[in-house]
Every structure is written in structure tokens, then in C-alpha cells.
Symmetry: D2
Subunit: 363 residues, 4 copies
């Protein structure tokens, strides 16, 4: 029952969708890191639902930093951010309390918590908890940036539409990080939005693949066993709701290739060791090789749909038909992007802290 | 620098390919678990290279249990298995010490360990270390089996050849666990072997996808955040050399589906709650739902090939051409299978110990 | 920089004396545990300063449970308690910001946090943070009680006055847990209070020894190495401000004895194995033996005194004389008692969860 | 069931007194640390029994480094040391298998391991396991020394005889670290030895207090909550067999003092901030203040004595009388000293690695 992630820099998340508040505590953060309130807000805004392709539940995400920041900078003691819940409609949920929404955690939560779980709006399983993660992740993203480490993601594919590939990583990421719907090819982005709207109109939902790059990591970060870069990142990434697959480099996309094709040849450019291709996603033997760390996350279609679905009433032990009403996202991939960036920042910061110490990030 | 995995049941691996020995320490194991030496040996044999499709380096893998077992059963104190190294050819490696083999960890090890790493035969990065993991994993696999939890894998695809899908899980796994080259369709297995041999004849290598199922897990295991079933398993799985992608259920294979297709409908069968499909791989919200936990691992083509490759001498800072000689595997997917089963047993046992306590496994 | 304690049940504390709030997150708690608000309040009241022997700073300690409790019971997801800060006098502290109060953490905080620490009122080092610990500890104390495990402490000595020894543990603890100033002999308690008042009148402070007993632990809890009962408890106990020594059983008090005196002889009473004496404090080889687990904590005299003290201005690098003003405790031992009980409940609950699983506490 | 200690640098111990071997794995060690085989041997010799005041069981402690060292230096991958058991007399123990030796872990091991424990010679609870700890601790002690951090202990009191106090720490420690029986006043040492011999002649045993100092730690190491310097050190120290109490600075020895006496005044000497006294043992608020970190461990009298003792047969549930025969130590405090230094080196190295990173120790 560990709800805390990280060896040196560690994050604890708490809160339920319809409880008093959600929040996060970040420990092990170096002192002296500037806390950019506007950047936190802009990141939270990117996670928030907006427009036709998102749920109609909209909250201001007014956050409050209750500890760990003094005179605009981190103190080095645990940093806590609280986001009060304000737009709950608790009555919406009580009637369907024991009808398991397919693809959701209603039944598994019941099996685990024996019926004591706060079931309203998904409780602790609500995507809303990710707002707290994004808030503290923003601080890590800013701090890493000052160290030359930047993180960015784009929607590699959504509803069958594929985005362009990364070209100039640094330039692409700069651009993506200013976008609400992060794609490299805006026409493909429009096609994705149209597909999402079409699914929404049909009471259905779509998924896709996110591709993330972490630039600026030196060679030599990560461990050969267990705390590999892939292991630590995937451990964190699989917490993001709807992520069901994680791959580094080309993995599943090149399983039919030969070793002579998959191996990334080394060369030297400006006295730096680089590889001509990056099929390994910047990691060999669990350790960074100095190339961009690139990974892809499979985001399953949002489970909340408006079509009638067969299910069970797990308290009565009876089969039932479920027809959802209310506010739901036909796609979350564009919002999940910011959550992926945030949780990646946490994993990367923790890997770096292991090697360089916790003070390093603030120096 | 954590080389230990697991909160309650924890594994520490050690050893280098050409050092004195490799080994493993397993802590937190319940007392009273029978240790089946023959089963350990048979699992080690499945991991060992054999026949035309594997490296010619063959060691007896004579293991020694030096602690934690008394009168044939676990004591509950740390269990240590040592496997001496006997067939090293140390002279093979010194000449090419600083030529980075593409796809291997030579350069990343150098970057991390500043040149102090034991570079002979891949050192600590050698696949040989997995023998120790398999040895202790065998004990966990046996103990879980007595609790009704069975684990099995097949080669879902290799070198472009696809195996049949799982049918009757329990029956399939029973059969797979007796095989050296684990496929459900033996004709497809022959085609895979032929493709591996062809690649070998060409001095090249192949990869593929492993599919693993864990049966018998009750609903309600895993955590909503961070120690999700997916997060814990993937953390462990990415340590297995050559694994570059992990997905639960269909993930990457169904990203273009709709929510109405991806959601697994619930029904009741013999008073048990089940799902008609298992696109979610038996996990919702990070927690088991009682269906088989099914996941796929992308195994990249073995990086050791006999074709000339462009690389660098990372100590001289010069570009170079590398032509490998010696003993290498044209494919490791059939051997990786046992390693995946072993490390999965560790992750699953640890998840169960969190909920039921460490004593539970031996009761 | 770990501010989280516990393997299975884990506590994270946050907050600064003069920040917005202090609080605690408790993860790994079983679902279905009743949360007794009145008991939390009564425990907080015992920790709060009161009367002539405590600081004049008095806050209502109005707490808010923001997550993890639903319909009066724990949900099994992280439980968060927030206590807003309301009675800060921030102006009191700015002038003496860089004058190291002897015995306090001002200088060490500066050395660690490079001057970014929130120095007001001791910041994160303030004893006030223990209120959050007491609040969540109350829930653990209640849950353990239902399992037959009770915890209680008395002031074994204070300012040179010694209390009576434990007699009938169960009866004594029941009585102590209702007291504000926990002593077994009320006359000795009066003498202690008088000594504290005398020290206060002199602008000075006193310390003492707390003795704590944990009843009802079965034999067989704890680990032989590292996570010994003593190691886990002491790790937690040394976090309590002013505790500088921890001993189990008689330890320092019987170092001059012989083995024949120190060994606790076993006997059988009502089919249960017991020991005639308990010099080992209920622990052998790091593991409980079924007798009460008894330990003593040395509480140093409160460092805040009103006498002039030689010190340094650590920012100017100059020697200085410090004369404290304001609100301070002449003794904290009577308040520390509740903190010790709370943190002991955490350590004990975590040790039990390791063996019996996290669900056990709520069953 | 954690048998591993340390967040960044972590130690796992294994082995039973009469099993094949005992050993230790040290993970997270920086690469490039010189491994001084002679120093390891000399430390092991100090731990080994010798002369009239120790058990007659004497083993060569021939150790073997099986991983993690290459060409005389650490590789950065897990370092494993194995010490085979050679002088077991297994027949000595079977007859008294279920007679609980008072003060020993026989009964608690049985309660924990349900009878599956290897009971021969104390099994995993044997003091012999500390040899592995001393072996790996030696490497840490050497590495810390190169960083200006030295550790040393003396027998502050034994059998009622008190040693002199530390004077010039650096000089004293240098001298102590060359001694077999570590005292500052050799006459007092002779009196202690005589008292031990007298107790041995009487079939009895004695205990005492060890005092340890760690020099050279910079101010600012440790955490305010949980991973305080005191908490981390005590967690490790309580694993050392027979240690039942740990205090930092004067603690129990000055509980009757006033705050004005206990507080350590600051002053400046050669631009460094120092304290005139060190009652706090070099730690304030859980964090080092730059003064020597000084702590005392209460070592209970060795439980193995030759006098008849009342006990129980825990398998039969009957009372019994026990008369030990064989080889036992009348005192272990002089041997425990090296174990305390070793485990302190581990705790200190881990605290430093948290702040400065794991690479730091090897730079």
C-alpha cells in the first residue's frame, strides 16, 4: 500500500474526487528552487478539460501551496499543494454505486477496499487526482529545465490519425509545450480533434499513443538492475490513468527487425558520442547513453462512454445494463500528455538525485 | 544505485560474467516453503543456451544454496544462491574493451562507472546474471503454485512469425512450462526456429514478443497510485535484458479502437464476476479484477551480431568498425521467457505480501 | 531527504510553524477503520500546551480530514489531516533570524538548506508539526486497541524526581491515557510540576525520561537484521524533538549487571510462555517475545530558555549573545508523551503489517 | 522482512552459523574505491574471538570477494563478500533445540519462523553474521577516511570499570583503531579484562557501554523528520547483537540537568562555528552541526552463561532447567566495537549519499 514514489525525491498523492480536496506532498526537493506560480497554473490549465472534446466538468483548480515554499523558493522541506474540490455533484453517483463501469476501477476498488471506498466520482481513482501531480510536477519541470533537461510530448496517434515524427527535438518540444493539443503537424491535429468529436457525437471514445522525449540527460544515469531508466519511468507512468503500455524507442514497432537494423551505430560529432538512429530510446543496459530518452505510452480509449453496456451489480451479484449519464471525456490523451510530462519529471529527477544527490537540483 | 527489488519480498542480484560467481539473495520469504532442487535445475536448463539457435558458451549452472534453507525448506531468513562462473574465456574481451558494441551497455557502463567496470563479457550486464534470478524465481514459482497462482509465457511472435493466441489458459500454461521453446502452435515454433537459424547463418539476430499470463490472482491486488500491478511488474520486467516494451492486455495493439470495443463487459459465471473480453489484461485502476493478468514484452533483436558495425572507441574518442567474434545468441527470446516468468513471480509475490503479509506465502 | 516513514503503513509529515498549515498523510491504512473524531481531539489536547508549565502560545488545533475517510471510516486510500496555523506571530522572529539558538536547529537548518529555510518559529523543526503526527497517530492507536494492542507512557523521571515503576501494565496504561500529566504516583507528579515551575521562574527548563509500554504484541514480530523491533521503533522515536536516547528494557540502567542477572528466565503461566523479569524489554534478537515491549526515551531539557546565552550569528560569522523572549515551554516531556505514543503506534502498526499484511489492521 | 538497510548505499546480510557460508552484498557503492584486503583482514581479526576473554571457537574468517571488485577497486556494481563456515560443531546443538536460552533469540525465532529456522548455533541470529558486516564495513571505513571522515569507538565502561573520556578525538581514534581491546586508559583496560576473566571463571558474563565518535562530517547532514542522523544510526545500531540502548551525546546521563546546562553554546574558532560543549552529540534537529557525532551504545551482558537457568521447552510447553556447555564469550563488548564502527560507517555513508549522491564516495 505504497502511495509514495521515489527513493530520494518522493511524491505522495492523496484525495478523492468528491472529498474535501486533493493534493500532493513532494519530499526531498532541493532548497532554493524558484516556484513559478504562473507556470503551475498554465500546466494545470493544459490538464483541465476544455472545449467540445472534453468533459463539461470544469473547475478552476485553485491550488494552495501550504508548505515547503518561502519567499517564492523551495525551502527543502516537504512541499505540499492542496487543490480544494468545488464542483462536485455527489448526487449523480449514489444510484449506480455498485454497477461496475466497464474499463473503470469500480469493481476492483470494491474488491480491494471491501466496500469502504469513497465511490463518488471514482473517488481516489478519479483522473482529478492528476491535477495535484501536475501542480508539483510543474516545479520539477522548471527545475530540470534550469539544468538543461527538457521534457515534451506529442500525440503520436489518436483515433487512427498519426502525427509527424519528432524532427529537431529541442525546437519541437519548445513548440509542443505551448500547445493545448500537442501535435507536430497541425493538420493531423485537426483530423484528430474531428475524430474525437465524431466519437463523442456517437457516445463513444477514442485512445492513442503519446510519444515523450527527455533531452539533456547525461550518459550514465540509471541502474543495470531494477532501477533501470525504463523500470523507474514505467513504474511511474503506469500510474497515469488509461496508460496500458510503455515502450522505449521502437520496441513493439520494430520487433520484426534484425539486430543489424535495430542496433544504433555510434559516431562522433563535435567530440560527443552519438548514435545515428535511436531505436533503443536513449537507454542501453538500463542506463542513459546521452541521446534523447524517447518513450511511447499506449493510452486506451476513455472507458466512460454513453452507449449501453453489459455489466454486473457487484453488491447484488447480478448482471445489469449500464447507461452512463453526466460529464465525460470522449478522449483524454491530450490532457494525459501533461500528466505524463509531470510524472516523467519526477522519475527523472529521482534518478538524477540518486547519482548526484538531492541538493544538486537546486544548485 | 538500488540493486534490490521489492518492498516485502526483496531480491538482490550480484555478480559479473567473468568474476568468481553470480548470485542472488531473496529476503522476506516465508518460512516452510519447500525447495525443489530438481525444479530449480529444470528452470535453469530452460534458460541455458542450447542447440543451433543459441550461443556455444555452455555452463552447467551448478548452483549452491548457501543460506536460508534448512532440511529442504525455507527458514524465513535470507535465501542465497550462488552460481560459480566456470567457462569464462577472459582473453576474448580485452582487445575490444573500449569499442562500444552497438545496442549493448559497454558505453553506458563506462559513462556510469568511469571505467572501473568489469568489462569482461559484459560484466554485471551479462545475461548470465539472469541465471541467479531464475534460480530464486523457481522457488517463488513453486510457492505461488501451491497458492493456486500459475505463471506461463509463450513466444507470441518471433522474426515475423506469430504464434496462436492463448486458449484455455490453465491447460496452455501447463504445456508451455514443460517446453524448451515455448509456443502454442508447434508449426509456428518450427517456422520461428528456422527464421532464427537463417538469421544466425547471416550473422544477424532476431527479436519478438513474449506474452505472459498470471492465473489465480484474486481481485483486489495492487495499488491505485504508483504500486499499480502494471507499475510493479513493468519495473521488474524492464530489468530483463533486451526487453524494451511492456503492455498489459491489448494496449498498443488496440489504440485505434473505440471505448465501446476496448471496455471489457462484466458478466457472472458460477457466481464469479468475469469479463467477456480481457483487453485490459486483468487490471483496472492498477488493481487486479480476477481475470488472468496478461502482458506482452517486446524483446529487441539480440545486439550481438557478426556483421561489421560502425561504432566508437569511447576511450580514444575515435570512430571505429567493430566485427564481433566468439559465442553469441542469434535470439534470446526463448531463453528470456524463463527470466520473465521468474521476475514476474517476484513482483506478484511482493504485491501479495503487501496485502496478506509475508507469512502468507508459506502457510 | 526522506520525510516518509514506514514500509507498508507510511507517514509523511509536512508544514512549517508559520506557514499556512501543517499536516500528515498516512498511506497503507486498511479500509474500514473507525475514525473517532473525539479521540483525535482529546489526544491533540494532551499535546497542546496548558497551564503554567507550558508555552503561552495556544491554538485550537482545529484539524480537517481532507481525504481517506468516508462515512466515518477509513477508505484504505491515503488519509490526510490538515491543521491550519492560526496563532503565528511572525514579527517575533525576523530580528533574530541568524542568531543560532543553542540546542535548536537554526544553524543546522541553515547549513542544510543554505538559507532558504522558513526560519519563522522554527519552521519545519517546530514542535508544532507533531500535532499532525498526533492526529493520525490517534487513528492508529484506536485501530491497534481493537486488536488488543495498547500503548501507554509515563514520565519515569523529570527534573530529578522519579515516578513509581509500572505495576499492572494494563491497568496503569488505562489510567495514564486519561491523564494530562502522565505519572503513576500523583505525589511525584506534583513534585515534578513544582520543579518545572521553579525552572520556569528561573528562566530555565528541565528534561526527563519517558517510559512507554506496548502490550498485546504477539511473539514473533520484527526482523533479525535491520528491521528489528528496536531499530524500527528507535528510528521513529528519534524524530520526536528533544529525544536524544532510546533504550529497550533496562539497558543503560543495568550495564554493570552480570548475565545471570540480566537474562530473563522463562516460565509457563496458563500455557503461555512468559519471563520472570523483563530486562530485555520484550525483545530478543530483534523480535518480540510476547512480554510487554518496554522502552525509555531520554528527553533533553527544552532548549528555549530565557537566560542569556553565548552563540553566533551564522550569517555574519560573528559571536553574539542571545536573550530569548516570547512564548516557550519550560518542559515538554508531558506533551512529548503523546507524540511518543503516536509515533510508536505507527512503528508497531508497520511491523505488524509486514507480517500480517496491510488489510489485517481493519479486519 | 527487510534484511536490507540503506536508501542509496544498501547492505543485505545473509547466512546461518552452521550453514555453508555467511555473507554480505553492498549495493550503491561508488566505482573506483580501493579495496584494501589487509585492512579487511585486520578488522575481521579484531572482531574474532581471542584469548581468555572470548569463546574458544576460532575460525580463520577466510573471506572471498565474489563480485563488485575488479583490479583492486570497486566497480560500482554490487559488492559481495562470502565467508565460508568451517568450524561448526553441529552435534552440540540438536539435543537442546527447543530449550529457550534466556536472553537469546531461540524462542522468538521459533515464534517467528514456526520451527523452520536453522537452530544450530543460533542460526541467522549468531554473532558470526557480523563478520560479513565487518568485512564490507571495512571498505566503507576506508572510503570515508579518504573523505576526511573517521570513526572510532572505545569501551566507555565494562563490568563497572569506566574508561577515560575522549580528549583529542582525532588522536584518540587513531590510537583506538589499532587496538584489540579499545580503551583510552590502559590501566582501566586491564581492570576490565580482569573483571571479564573473573566473570568467566564464575561461569557468568558482563556488559558495558561503547562510545563512538564520527569526525569530519560537515554541518547539514540528516533530515528533520524520520531520517534524522539519530534515527538512521540507531536503526542500524540496534541490529548489532546485545545492543539495547543508543543515546546521542549525554542524553540519559544528563536528564536531570537544566536547559542552561544542556544547551551547547556556539562560538567561532578559525572562522568555523563550534560549540563549547557537545551534550547534543553533534546533532541538532536531526542534522549534523559540524561537531563530532558522538553516541553511546548499551551492550547487555552476553546471554550465554554457564550457570543453571530456569527456562522452558517451547516445543513441549514445559518448564525446564538449562545448563549450557561449549564455547561462549564472557564478554563481547570488545568485539562488538568493530561491528559498531562498521554499521556506523554504513549509516553515515548512506546519509552522505542522500545529500551528495552515490558517486561522491568514490571521487
Amino acid at each position: 500500500m505504497k502511495n509514495t514514489f521515489g527513493n530520494s525525491i518522493s511524491l505522495t498523492l492523496f484525495g478523492e474526487s468528491h472529498g474535501e480536496a486533493i493534493g500532493a506532498v513532494l519530499g526531498g526537493l532541493a532548497p532554493g528552487i524558484e516556484v513559478d506560480i504562473d507556470f503551475i497554473r498554465s500546466q494545470l490549465d493544459k490538464r483541465r478539460p476544455a472545449g467540445k472534446i472534453s468533459t463539461a466538468r470544469r473547475e478552476a483548480d485553485e491550488f494552495s501551496i501550504v508548505s515547503g515554499v518561502f519567499e517564492g523558493k523551495t525551502t527543502g522541506t516537504p512541499l505540499t499543494i492542496i487543490i480544494p474540490n468545488t464542483a462536485q455533484h455527489s448526487k449523480d453517483y449514489s444510484a449506480t454505486r455498485s454497477l461496475a463501469r466497464p474499463g473503470h476501477a469500480d469493481y476492483t476498488a470494491y474488491a480491494k477496499y471491501h466496500g469502504y471506498e469513497d465511490y463518488r466520482g471514482g473517488g481516489h481513482f478519479s483522473g482529478r487526482v492528476t491535477a495535484a501531480l501536475v501542480a508539483v510536477g510543474s516545479i520539477l519541470i522548471s527545475a530540470l529545465k534550469k539544468k538543461g533537461i527538457v521534457i515534451g510530448s506529442h500525440i503520436l496517434s489518436c483515433a487512427g490519425v498519426s502525427d509527424a515524427a519528432f524532427g529537431d527535438f529541442a525546437k519541437d518540444i519548445k513548440q509542443l509545450n505551448d500547445m493545448d493539443f500537442a501535435v507536430l503537424d497541425s493538420e493531423k491535429g485537426e483530423a484528430m480533434r474531428a475524430a474525437i468529436e465524431a466519437a463523442a457525437a456517437d457516445g463513444d471514445s477514442v485512445g492513442g499513443v503519446l510519444e515523450t522525449a527527455v533531452l539533456g540527460l547525461p550518459a550514465g544515469v540509471g541502474e543495470p538492475w531494477f532501477d533501470t531508466v525504463e523500470g523507474v519511468l514505467s513504474h511511474a507512468l503506469f500510474s497515469v490513468p488509461a496508460i496500458k503500455g510503455v515502450q522505449f524507442g521502437d520496441a513493439f514497432d520494430m520487433v520484426n527487425s534484425k539486430g543489424s537494423e535495430y542496433n544504433d551505430s555510434y559516431y562522433i560529432s563535435d567530440k560527443e558520442i552519438k548514435t545515428t538512429t535511436n531505436h533503443n530510446g536513449g537507454v542501453n543496459g538500463g542506463i542513459t547513453n546521452g541521446m534523447p530518452v524517447v518513450f511511447r505510452c499506449a493510452v486506451k480509449p476513455t472507458p466512460s462512454i454513453f452507449k449501453a453496456q453489459n455489466t454486473v451489480d457487484f453488491m447484488k451479484g447480478e448482471e445489469a445494463v449500464l447507461e452512463l449519464k453526466g460529464r465525460h471525456d470522449p478522449a483524454i490523451i491530450h490532457r494525459a500528455r501533461i500528466v505524463v510530462d509531470s510524472v516523467s519529471a519526477l522519475a527523472v529527477a529521482d534518478l538524477l538525485a540518486m547519482r548526484y544527490g538531492t541538493d544538486w537540483l537546486g544548485e
